[in-house]
């Protein structure tokens, strides 16, 4: 019997510790409320669960809509091998965002209220609707992997029939709420530090979400190639890195123009936490941008991975600055998450990794070949009635 126990490795031990502390924090959250688990206050109502679990969670799941657009709408078939992992990441990401929200909301039992009680003037209302609809879209985009696993051809054909409007809907919904997470903070002009408060926050959030979506795809490919012993799709990732370099350059340029037009560069001379956090965010983006323009970096898996990680951390820093640190001075208070807030967040992230691994091991996430056959058959039937002209 003992032989059947899973081997204890360092990673599994860490995973178990994280999950146990997360479970205890969950118990505290249910019994003692937000006061018993968070360092939130009347002056600082949003903390780690909004700043990281929701804002970073949604941004890091942006690879889903980015790759759907690239592969299916722009029809760049080359990127197909990384499409399914990106969709799965996005689907799990959004589910975990909802889990994070359940911890953060004062009344999680009323999560559904925005669906029936409307206030179209509220950005949060729009985000709630978009996230609900987009999670549904992601579920439908994930379903083909299930159908393929069990060889269900009928439902596969059915879902293929609605796939184009579905994909366009998914990209539009993502465009809306990725940018709207930035719009949330347009209402606090006097609270958010000038490095981050900008009238073009929605645009900055949108462009950076596309960039981090690509960076996450590179990050995942690298990890899954190690976890599942697959060969890394290096030429594909290298060409994606080119796109990423251009996107990052565009983002940095918009950011520069924004800061210049608002005349806030003078603030860089102040020795404040905000200055250092801003510089960290910028450094973590400028360094990979410069590196990714070198062919030698793009073609070396290790260097490519390092660049992707830097971009991911830059965007995480940005979201935390907008959602947490940039608001501290303006709110006249300090906030540092309590252990239980961190434990819940880490548990959510760890659970995400674990579920991804299980699903990727069980469903055809990394090979899309048989789907292609099924699809080609369907298309062939349709193609007969089309004349070339």
């Amino acid at each position: 019997m003992l032989r059947k126990l899973p081997k204890i490795t360092v990673w599994r031990a860490i995973f178990a510790v994280i999950l146990l502390s997360g479970l205890y924090a969950t118990y505290l959250r249910i019994v003692y409320g937000l006061a018993g688990t968070t360092n939130l206050s009347d002056k600082f109502p949003w903390g780690l669960w909004i700043g990281f679990d929701v804002m970073c969670g949604v941004a890091l799941a942006a690879g889903g809509f980015t790759l759907v657009a690239i592969v299916h709408i722009f029809a760049i078939e080359r990127y197909k091998p990384v499409l399914r992992p990106a969709i799965l990441t996005a689907f799990l990401g959004y589910l975990l965002v909802v889990v994070g929200l359940l911890y953060d909301l004062g009344r999680p039992d009323r999560l559904w209220h925005p669906l029936v009680m409307w206030n179209p003037r509220s950005v949060m209302f729009e985000v709630a609707w978009c996230v609900t609809l987009y999670t549904t879209v992601l579920f439908l985009e994930f379903l083909p992997m299930v159908f393929e696993r069990f060889g269900w051809h009928k439902p596969m054909e059915w879902i293929h029939r609605i796939s184009v409007p579905l994909m366009i809907l998914g990209v539009m919904l993502s465009t809306l709420h990725q940018s709207s997470l930035g719009s949330l903070f347009l209402i606090v002009p006097e609270k958010l530090y000038p490095f981050w408060y900008s009238p073009i926050l929605p645009l900055l959030f949108y462009v950076s979400s596309i960039a981090v979506g690509l960076a996450m795809t590179i990050f995942e490919s690298w990890h899954s190639s190690r976890a599942f012993g697959r060969a890394l799709e290096l030429p594909l990732l290298a060409s994606m890195a080119r796109v990423l370099a251009v996107l990052l350059s565009v983002y940095l340029w918009i950011r520069f123009l924004d800061l210049a037009h608002r005349h806030v560069f003078g603030l860089l001379l102040r020795n404040r936490t905000e200055t250092w956090l801003f510089l960290l965010e910028m450094a973590l983006m400028i360094v990979p941008t410069v590196m990714l323009y070198q062919r030698s970096v793009r073609m070396r898996p290790g260097a490519l991975y390092a660049c992707a990680v830097m971009v991911v951390f830059s965007v995480i820093t940005n979201r935390l600055n907008v959602g947490i640190t940039g608001l501290e001075a303006g709110s006249g208070t300090h906030y540092f998450p309590r252990w239980s807030e961190v434990a819940v967040t880490l548990s959510i992230v760890a659970t995400g990794f674990a579920i991804f691994r299980v699903i990727a091991g069980y469903f055809p996430v990394f090979e899309a070949h048989s789907l292609e056959h099924a699809r080609a058959e369907v298309e062939e039937k349709e193609a007969d009635s089309i004349t070339v002209g």
């Binding site: 709408i73 029809a75 009323r110 729009e126």
Partner: protein, 247 residues
């Protein structure tokens, strides 16, 4: 006719009768320990603060265009035509966006409760809709807090400034802040010296988000046509390629 409150810091004697009356109106416990707390919280919806020789009262500003009401995803907060900004706890899901959005940091939360609610002054909406003045104004022994028609109170505040210019800092707080509020302050010293935020924008805050939100239908319709068009072009190319390949 919208109602308002005029609070004159130069008249206030710091007796905290307003605090007691407010607690009674909400059915909240009030004693020496609560009276000693100089900040508003979920169990104290108005508070008299001491700033050196001056007193200052904190309460919800009941803005003309409230940020809290505009950001609430479920419409739990509403601006009434009578003036008060009211809250329906049965709708609230506890996202606390109202607290984040309020430039005066007024909404407070029942952090320790298992079924928490947001808490804030509602300018005694139930009393005012029966034609009565707010509990705080009724309790004030020196007339430092006055409740009445908004226009009449502005006129009265201007008159006080004109009659005794040497006793007042020559401005009315609340007239233009965030596009105007339903609570006005008069003070002997600049307002930041009695703990009021003077860096708040002079334009109504809901405009900042609405400017973006109103573009939504345009973005969605244009984006969908564009994406659909791109798909049609790129996939037509594929069809052509396939047909030609067959020949």
């Amino acid at each position: 006719m919208p109602k308002a409150i005029l609070y004159d810091s130069t008249l206030c004697i710091g007796c905290k009768a307003c605090e007691g009356a407010c607690a009674e109106r909400w059915g909240l416990p009030y004693g020496d320990s609560v009276a000693a707390e100089e900040k508003i919280s979920a169990h104290k919806l108005t508070a008299v603060e001491t700033h050196g020789d001056h007193f200052s009262r904190r309460l919800c500003m009941n803005c003309l265009q409230p940020a809290c009401a505009s950001v609430c995803p479920v419409g739990a907060i509403q601006k009434t035509s009578l003036g008060p900004v009211v809250y329906d706890a049965s709708k609230c899901m506890g996202c606390r966006y109202c607290m984040q959005a309020c430039p005066f940091q007024v909404p407070t939360y029942e952090w320790s409760s298992r079924l928490p609610k947001m808490r804030k002054c509602d300018m005694c909406y139930p009393r005012q809709s029966q034609g009565k003045v707010t509990a705080c104004a009724e309790a004030c022994p020196v007339g430092a807090t006055k409740c009445g028609e908004r226009d009449a109170l502005i006129a009265e505040a201007r008159q006080r400034l004109a009659e005794k210019p040497d006793q007042y800092y020559p401005k009315i707080y609340g007239l233009t802040e965030v596009g105007g509020t339903s609570v006005f302050y008069l003070s002997a010293v600049p307002f930041e010296q009695i703990g009021l935020r003077t860096n708040v924008p002079q334009e109504p805050l809901p405009e900042t988000t609405w400017r973006v939100l109103e573009l939504l239908p345009d973005v969605v319709s244009t984006g969908s046509v564009l994406l659909g068009g791109i798909w049609w072009i790129t996939n037509r190319r594929e069809e052509v390629a396939r047909k030609e390949g067959k020949r």
